[in-house]
């Protein structure tokens, strides 16, 4: 298992070689509290790399949306199930793979970004949800999803210097 952990922490196929040399792998239980704590821990590590503050914001936001989507939709807020997160920073790109064993995405594909015409809405009709995939699409430079056996795999990259 040690070898697997080391291998999964190396350069993904096609990625440029590690420049900053940071990688991280964690497994969390799929609950909102665990996601919140994991993001705080991860953010502390990323701050230590001296990355641009705006890049840190974009990374935390994308991961929060993607992880909470798994908690709420793949695992239906059941309070159990695992999420594996593998993240690394290569030169100017943040790479992240999320794997879970919950329900597949609707229709087996990535949900589109939902956009609202807020100016046309009355106060009582303002949306209280549905922003997550819009934020993920807006803030990632690549985003792929595949279902492999009983697993969902989401791979994303975020440009660190834009």
């Amino acid at each position: 298992m040690t070898n697997l952990a080391v291998a999964s922490c190396g350069s993904p196929a096609g990625a440029p070689p590690l420049v900053i040399g940071w990688c991280h792998r964690m497994e969390i239980t799929a609950t909102r509290d665990q996601v919140s704590r994991a993001l705080t821990r991860l953010n502390q590590q990323l701050i230590g790399l001296g990355l641009d503050p705006d890049a840190l914001i974009r990374m935390e936001l994308v991961l929060a949306e993607a992880l909470n989507n798994i908690v709420e939709h793949a695992y239906c807020d059941a309070g159990h199930g695992n999420i594996a997160l593998e993240a690394s920073v290569h030169s100017n790109t943040f790479w992240c793979h999320l794997t879970d064993s919950g329900r597949p995405m609707p229709g087996g594909k990535l949900p589109p970004a939902r956009r609202y015409d807020l100016g046309a809405l009355d106060v009582q009709d303002l949306p209280e949800g549905g922003f997550g995939w819009g934020l993920i699409h807006d803030l990632t430079s690549s985003l792929t999803y595949d279902r492999s056996g009983a697993q969902n795999r989401l791979a994303l990259t975020i440009d660190l210097d834009c």
């Binding site: 705006d54 914001i57 974009r58 936001l61 909470n68 807020l118 106060v123 009582q124 303002l126 997550g132």
Partner: protein, 116 residues
């Protein structure tokens, strides 16, 4: 998390005492806000100066708070940190809420002089 409430002239300033409003505490925020707002009248300013992270669930809770006040009252925001401002911009919610740089600016907008 907690919310403190302070009345200044016509305005009620509600300050969120938490570093985050995220999926883990969005419901708690909404419930607490509902309880507190039942005791005040007039415009409410939500001071987010301590909040350094807001996700879409947290944003949904802030929108729910806005709706709780109804169309004849306002919910204004103050003290947005960069991460919070980013979410507001990306979702265009910055066009829905009146946003003040900080608590004192919000009070000044309502004709309340800042404390000396």
């Amino acid at each position: 998390m907690d919310i403190t409430c302070e009345t200044q002239g016509p305005v009620c300033i509600m300050r969120v005492i938490s570093d985050r409003i995220d999926a883990a505490i969005a419901i708690q925020f909404k419930d607490l806000f509902r309880d507190m707002v039942a005791c005040v009248t007039g415009p409410v300013v939500l001071d987010l100066g301590q909040v350094t992270f807001l996700d879409s669930s947290g944003l949904g809770a802030v929108v729910a708070a806005r709706k709780l006040l109804g169309a004849d009252r306002t919910l204004e925001l103050a003290g947005l940190n960069p991460a919070v401002e980013k979410v507001m911009q990306l979702t265009r919610m910055n066009t829905v809420f009146l946003i003040h740089p900080d608590r004192d600016a919000a009070l000044a907008a309502h004709g309340v002089a800042p404390a000396a």
